[in-house]
Amino acid sequence: MSKTKTFKPDRDVKPWTGGYRPYDIAKELTVCILAVLVITIGLAVIFGSPDEKSVTIQSWSNANQVDFAQTAITELDGSSASATYGAPYNNVADTGQKIGPLALESWAGVTHPVDPPKDFVLGPLSTVTGAPGVQAALARYNAASPAQQAKWQKAYEDAVKNAKEVNGVLVVPPGPYGPVGPMIAYLTAMAKSGALDTSTVAQSGFFSTDYTKPLLFISDGAYLADLGTTHHLSGDQWGMMNETGSFPGQAWLWLYTMWYQVSPFNNANSAWGANADALIWALMMLLTVILALLPFIPGLRSIPRWTRIYRLIWRDYYKGRV
């Protein structure tokens, strides 16, 4: 015996028995394609598109070599954002955001290995030839105990906070930082010459399209963040949804970006704020699933009928109808 389903107005329709009228969809589509072409060309001619030049380690170190040196020592002593990031770049205990008990960020482990002391400082310096001072400093540093290395790093990190640029030269107050001083000074010179860009990119071979390492290095400094703020692109300025200049950017990301602006996600001192990325992604995935499955969700699928906006859309049809 077959079961008859009841008619539900938010799920079912009755067969159309009304009239039909000529409708030229081929013409409509052609006109639409041409209309969009005209609007697109108009917008392209009037507004163009933004093209702010990319930041290189060279441009960064030439623009602000003090910031570069301050960043470089945090890469060497392992205190930079990249060095303390955890998965997928390196193994660092107690890192990775969580959604409740789910630590999705660290599940797959280290898949893009980045070792900042080696990749950003010691590795590039070890490729230097014809500079005995640097090679001697590097040899002395490598021969020292980890405890001694840590003392030099700490002394340099304290001193470089008061560093200045004088006549285009990095001047760091004197201190007991041993070989670290000449190492960072030479690394800064490498950066200013462009050699460090080449060195960090070329680590994966002659052909490379992977900029993971140089981008992490650059983003550890204050220079890139300051540029982002200048271009109204920081997280509390609706972040990556925007573009440089006055362009609409990825306006369709407004809902995703909005969550970062509101409590509790914008409270960095709370568990919500500390795990904001993971929680906001989870929330957006949930909302996406709800949107996709809307036709099956009682109540939500009735909103169109309740709001009666459909009467505006089909106003010709409803003329004279109750």
């Binding site: 041409l34 598109s49 797959a108």
Partner: protein, 232 residues
């Protein structure tokens, strides 16, 4: 006089058993030509909101064409060529228009409850296409090879990594993002758009609520079955 080869084939039991024949018959049954490319529509189809679906396809057309021109010369061409900059600008603005039209189309379909009458899959393919389009645009922004792409990559990595997806989808890897942007994701958007349009043609345009209140004519011979479905 001999019979035409077509007549022979049509009456051949061996041919009737072929997968090819069965697939063709199933396709023609699901989407007969008058339903696939109809020349009439139900009389209730009378609103500007219906144009936004076609406008979305129109914008997608120029997104693809301008993207193909950019692909001809490589990802950094537009930084050094005024023609390249113009083509990039058309790519950008056609994308902006694509999303603008698509969002209006989506809201229009929402307020029509366009999933009624066995059209749920049409709605779902539309939502999925929208989400993949967001990913396609995002990887496009990462492939600009300028400050914007650097900034967006370094900002977005934390969100992507927090989900675990960063283990295999590395936003700092320009090569990987470019390949997603110019191959995998556009193919998915295009395929889903075609599927979405075919589903619209298969089920027809959703009728108004309480549509049976005042029937006023008999469908013309070439009209599509506009609202098959009934009680799901």
């Amino acid at each position: 006089m001999t019979a035409t080869p077509q007549t022979d084939v049509a009456s051949d039991p061996e041919v009737e058993k072929q997968w090819t024949t069965k697939i063709r018959k199933a396709l023609v049954k699901a989407l007969p030509p008058e339903r696939l490319i109809p020349d009439r529509q139900p009389s209730y189809l009378s609103s500007w909101i219906y144009v936004f679906g076609a406008l979305t396809i129109g914008a997608l057309t120029w997104v693809i064409i301008s993207g193909c021109v950019l692909a001809l010369y490589g990802p950094t061409w537009w930084h050094t060529s005024s023609v390249g900059l113009f083509v990039n600008s058309t790519h950008l603005w056609s994308v902006e228009l694509f999303f603008f039209f698509m969002v209006i189309h989506l809201w229009g379909k929402f307020f029509m409850a366009a999933w009624r009458g066995n059209r749920q899959l049409t709605w779902i393919t539309g939502v999925v296409t929208f989400m993949i389009s967001v990913g396609t645009a995002f990887t496009g922004y990462l492939s600009q090879t300028n400050f914007d792409s650097q900034w967006i990559a370094t900002q977005a990595k934390d969100g992507i990594n927090s989900t675990g997806a960063g283990a295999f989808f590395n936003v700092l890897n320009f090569g990987q993002m470019l390949m997603f942007h110019i191959t995998l994701l556009p193919v998915a958007v295009l395929a889903l758009t075609v599927l979405h349009v075919l589903m619209v043609r298969r089920r027809g345009i959703v009728p108004p609520f309480e549509v049976s209140a005042k029937p006023d004519a008999t469908p013309a011979a070439s009209a599509p079955a506009a609202n098959e479905g009934g009680v799901a």
